[in-house]
Symmetry: C2
Subunit: 374 residues, 2 copies
């Protein structure tokens, strides 16, 4: 009755169709709506890419302007949501903050009909940086920040709320490129969880909340934070080389290398690696980048494992002045666009996602009265 | 590269192994850990079944007593959670309340290590009725209820918090049986979403939050509420017969019939149907049950569709004095046991769940500068 997947975890088993992106397909690599990721990262802004993912085509200047204005107008947090964020402990996992904030917003501004979906999506894209940084600044500085800023882009807005000043052009563009790279990745675990949820015809907030909770795991979104913790351990390339060799000898897991789908390289790596170097050079710091490159070399020569997007994102974010605990939440601020595109695609041609299972439990047995139980 | 599912939605495609339950397997029907559902519904309490699902075996008297005491001790809500619940609007979807409450609790009492998992699970089983009814009573009566009660069972506790009085033995046992029936159902959509989440090694709260959001959908947990809305439309069996025939003529969807896995009948239906009749007889009301039976007859004669668990659960819950909007949240209060068992099973032999997709989007195309876009 059931076709058994070859290696488990549904690896290589199609769970459906998508027109949003390709991930490792021959002749494509990674592309969003047919556009190669390297070209998008070089030439498009995050807002253009978000529009492309949601609507299927790159926006005209007028469309991009409208979309940008909508996002700017949606940055404020309802008072009840601010009150909830203020009740989340300072030592909470920031992904739990976004999971809770997204869910709470769903009680305040519910999606009662799918005709509202694009408004809900725009709201979520606009509000995640506000939600995260309102909580973060309140929890760390005790400050109730305004969630408005002078920056028209999400990248600039994020950095401005975090640092209380207008970021440099270099920093804004680096952040922007990172958001482009993280925006979409086919049926990865968090997107797939969002689609499983959406396929019961549940609401957008439920699907996105499921995505956030799934992305939180160290085997998925948590890898960039783990990479940073590793890099921060070493004060030179030499120390990194010997340290990682020793870790490999002890069979410790090194995060940020290899990929579930890509077999030879992650097409996003060259882009973020170049940005990490540029940011390091600009900061007059070469240690963090040099340490990263040394680890990269060792992983390749020893294990034939290539860095994925998460690895050089760690040093890039660090150069941008972003605290490590906010790395995975940035992933949410970007990936919400991919999740939303997938939820809308699922709804447009829905079928409940309900796999079978192979039973490995006890044979049928008769009920045991309590006094006969051991 | 990818093995295409025959009918989509992964129907009939194995997504992994489980020893927790069988669902429609030949020679098994529905069984929890090898015990037939009809026998469990007749002879076991919800607490015994919860223990069975979590630990694999029915509890001894001493184990059951310990487990019951732990649940009783875990009924209180932290003050921050109460403050959050008070900020959720009275007209919110109660599933959004549980989704948000579960997520918020995860920030207050995080699972920082999987060694804590069973404590988190016990906490969640114990606290969902408190969470739901604290919000519901505050939102509808403006009353801040105590979340303690004199009832040792979850079924009695739920009804007592809802109605401010000790429920009858008949009502307690009917509620208890309903919780047994809803506790577990293999790789249904909400459980599968919880496993996809857990497989990234995310925390228990994230997995359960994903389960709640997925169960919320009208194609999954929402069916019992839809059934009640249908039943409430008719004031006699005759009116129901002609009304449902007319609906079928207009090709309207009738909720609570048929099943994604069961092909001939839902093994839980006979149990809940008998309880619905018993509760109606005891209340001296036969209309609701008679209407239900008339709809059941029409669906079988016209469509060869059988009622699933949701259909007679609607009238049973109504006889128990439960408002319709709380039907799906009761499903959560029960299914948390199945979700938790599956998360623990996934963790014990984990592999990231990451399916493939068939690409149906645009062919590879070159980037279009803004002034060339139409």
């Amino acid at each position: 009755m059931s076709a058994k997947p070859v290696v488990g975890g549904l690896r290589g088993v199609s769970a459906g169709e998508t027109s949003i992106s390709t991930c490792g397909k021959e002749g494509f690599g990674l592309s969003y709506r047919g556009y190669d990721i390297a070209e998008l990262a070089e030439r498009a802004s995050f807002e253009e890419v978000a529009y492309l993912l949601l609507y299927g085509e790159l926006p005209t200047a007028a469309q991009l302007n409208d979309f940008t204005q909508i996002l700017i107008q949606n940055r404020d947090l309802p008072v009840e949501l601010r009150e909830v964020l203020e009740r989340i402990p300072a030592n909470a996992h920031p992904m739990d903050v976004l999971r809770t904030g997204c869910s709470m917003l769903g009680t305040l501004e519910p999606e009662t009909d799918f005709s509202q979906q694009i408004n809900v999506v725009n709201r979520l894209i606009a509000v995640f940086p506000s939600m995260l940084l309102y909580w973060y600044r309140f929890a760390t500085d005790g400050k109730r920040i305004s969630t408005q800023s002078s920056s028209p882009t999400l990248a600039g807005h994020f950095l401005q709320l975090l640092g209380d000043r207008v970021p440099s052009e270099l920093h804004q563009r680096a952040m922007d490129v990172s958001l482009v790279l993280y925006a979409e990745h086919e049926f990865n675990a968090s997107t797939f969880a969002a689609r499983v949820c959406a396929a019961t015809l549940s609401d957008m907030y439920s699907a996105v909340t499921a995505g956030i909770g799934t992305l939180r795991g160290p085997l998925h979104g948590g890898a960039n934070e783990a990479a940073m913790e590793l890099i921060a351990k070493f004060d030179s390339a030499d120390a990194a080389r010997s340290g990682v060799l020793a870790m490999l000898g002890r069979k410790e897991k090194i995060m940020g290398f290899g990929h579930a789908v890509y077999k030879e390289s992650d097409p996003r790596n060259a882009v973020i690696k170049a940005w990490s170097k540029r940011l390091g050079d600009s900061a007059g710091d070469t240690q963090l980048y040099a340490v990263s490159e040394a680890i990269d070399d060792v992983m390749w020569s020893e294990k034939r494992l290539f860095p994925n997007l998460d690895f050089y994102s760690a040093s890039a974010y660090h150069y941008l002045g972003i605290p490590t605990q906010l790395f995975t939440p940035i992933f949410v601020c970007s990936r919400i666009t991919g999740w939303a595109a997938h939820v809308m695609e699922q709804r447009a041609n829905n079928k409940l996602i309900r796999p079978a299972a192979d039973y490995t439990g006890p044979a049928a047995r008769s009920f045991l009265p309590m006094d006969e139980r051991a």
